[in-house]
Amino acid sequence: MWLMRILEQRADFFFWGAVSIMWSAFNFFFAYLLVNNAGSIAGWDQTEMFVLLSVFTMYDAFIWSWFYFNMRRYTENVFNGELDGFLVKPIDLQFFVSVQHNSYNNVFRLAFGVGMLITSVSKLPYSISILEWLLFVCLFILGFILIYSLWFILATCSFWIDRLNNIGDIIPSLRRLNQFPREVYSGIASFLFTGLFPIVLVTSLPAEVLTHRVSLQWVLYFTFLTFFFLFLSRIFFHFSLKRYSGAGS
């Protein structure tokens, strides 16, 4: 439905595409400057950094397409009482509020990310096996689920505290963390963002598969936490629904 709506306004669609590609191109440019001056970033050379940034670009395009507007709308729905319309429908409510408003403006950025990934991987001094590509795709999807779960849990807090408009901005504001490999982070940042809430692993682990660095322990840990947070998001959502008060009629 939203795709049809967006295509009705094609000028906006193409403009967004151009701007989002520009953002991504600058990311690669800054990484190029950094690596050129420092030699590498935490042991990642320019090609490997470009692989990581390609994964980040694809991940970022996905979350802007499917999460950002939905989570914003979801918190507004709770505050404005617009959840009424969803609650009466015979459909999984969490799914419905999570897919109500998708933006496809980032399809250009996604294509740019895929293109950069293919280019960067082709420059690596070794080839990637089908099994590695499969693991890459699985970890990419798991990362997507993890970010969704964490974001949804935060957005669900709007049942408990009125008018939490900015709560949906916490995860996007942390996405800069995904532009660097996990080895960059140490101390409390490492504990928080690779241990407790492994946001950094979302882009780092898939890139590690392609750059032959990944370890099984991290993959298992990441998989476990992803499903744990997905489960938690459902439990918390259904528990919080009891607090829904709608809005005045």
Partner: protein, 328 residues
């Protein structure tokens, strides 16, 4: 098999609301000191509704009508009490239950604003898993009944309020619900469109035997559609019964409209009853119900009467007076 469709027992739904102190200082102070108040939107309400009944839910703004409908639809979780609709606990929100009822709120819409209504209908077809043949048959029927075939492919944002409301009803009824909760479905519509929707609701009730709860501020809706009315005030049920019984229960007076052959002074008339309106040859008197016939006989015998009528007060007036605690 019982034909009981809706059952509410001692339902309570309270809200905790923040009361802001006025002015800038009130806003600053609210950062560390907030006062909350418990609003008893629905406070110990009980009633039952049988299959096929059309019940008018009457009350002032904030009386608790919409809150009750939301609890019945599973939108709000009750603080206490038992609620069953079609044998289900609405709060369980089972798909089998949700496919059997519809909630239409005149002040909210489910149609996609930027797309034609037909797209929302198709979405609902998928959500409610309506088989193709049933969808086509129901859609054709509803479209014909409401005469909207020419607007199905026009963006919702370009439709009039009346056209939108008709499409809202279609979207809500595509799955042939057995229970309908209609919350002010005619709000904002002109009198012609109100009549169209009323006729449609009546036909739907007859054809499908649907159970309907209707809230409306237009008494015409309630009078035309509902044999039974429930009046709630400040979260409490104050009346439940046939619409006509509202008059018997709450109307203390009857209205005596009298036309005289010659001028009669107001003072003379005041000896018989309270004078509500007075002109030279005409007057309207408010007479206690129990002695209305007796007073009419006295006036007929003692004054030069051209015409006399004994009437019940209009139901709108009775309900208004009930809410203002000034029984007619």
């Amino acid at each position: 098999m019982s034909d009981l469709v809706i059952s509410i027992n001692h339902l309570k739904r309270h809200f905790k609301v923040y009361k802001k102190q006025p002015g800038l200082w009130g806003s600053i102070r609210s950062l560390w000191d907030r006062k909350y108040e418990v609003v008893k939107a629905v406070d110990d309400i009980s009633f039952e509704i049988k299959q096929g009944e059309v019940v008018g839910f009457i009350g002032q703004n904030g009386a608790g009508k919409t809150t009750t409908l939301k609890v019945l639809s599973g939108l709000l979780y009750p603080n206490s009490g038992e609620v069953t609709v079609l044998g289900y606990n609405p709060w369980d929100r089972k798909a089998t239950f949700q496919k059997q009822f519809a909630l239409v709120m005149g002040q909210k819409n489910q149609l996609w604003w930027d797309l034609p209504p037909i797209e929302t209908f198709l979405l609902n077809k998928a959500i409610y898993e309506i088989p193709d043949a049933q969808y086509k048959k129901t859609l054709d029927k509803l479209v014909n009944l409401l005469d909207v075939s020419d607007i199905l492919h026009i963006q919702v944002r370009k439709l009039s309020l009346g056209q939108r409301m008709k499409c809202e009803l279609i979207a809500a009824l595509l799955h042939n619900p057995k229970v309908l909760f209609l919350d002010e479905p005619t709000i904002g519509l002109d009198v012609v469109m109100q009549k169209v929707l009323r006729d449609f609701i009546r036909d739907y009730n007859k054809e499908f035997g649907a159970t309907i709860i209707l809230t409306s501020h237009y008494m015409e809706d309630v009078k035309e559609l509902c044999k039974r009315a429930i009046i709630i005030d400040h979260g409490h049920k104050v009346f439940d019964g046939p619409l006509q019984d509202i008059i018997d229960t709450y109307a203390r007076n009857k209205i005596l409209s009298v036309t005289f052959d010659k001028k009669i002074s107001k003072v003379t008339l005041e000896k018989y009853a309270e004078v509500k309106s007075y002109q030279d040859h005409k007057a309207t008197l408010l007479v206690p119900r129990k002695i209305a016939t007796q007073v009419a006989s006295s006036i007929l015998a003692q004054l030069p009467i051209e015409d006399i009528n004994i009437e019940e007060p209009p139901i709108e007036a009775i309900i208004r007076e009930v809410f203002q605690s000034k029984i007619v």
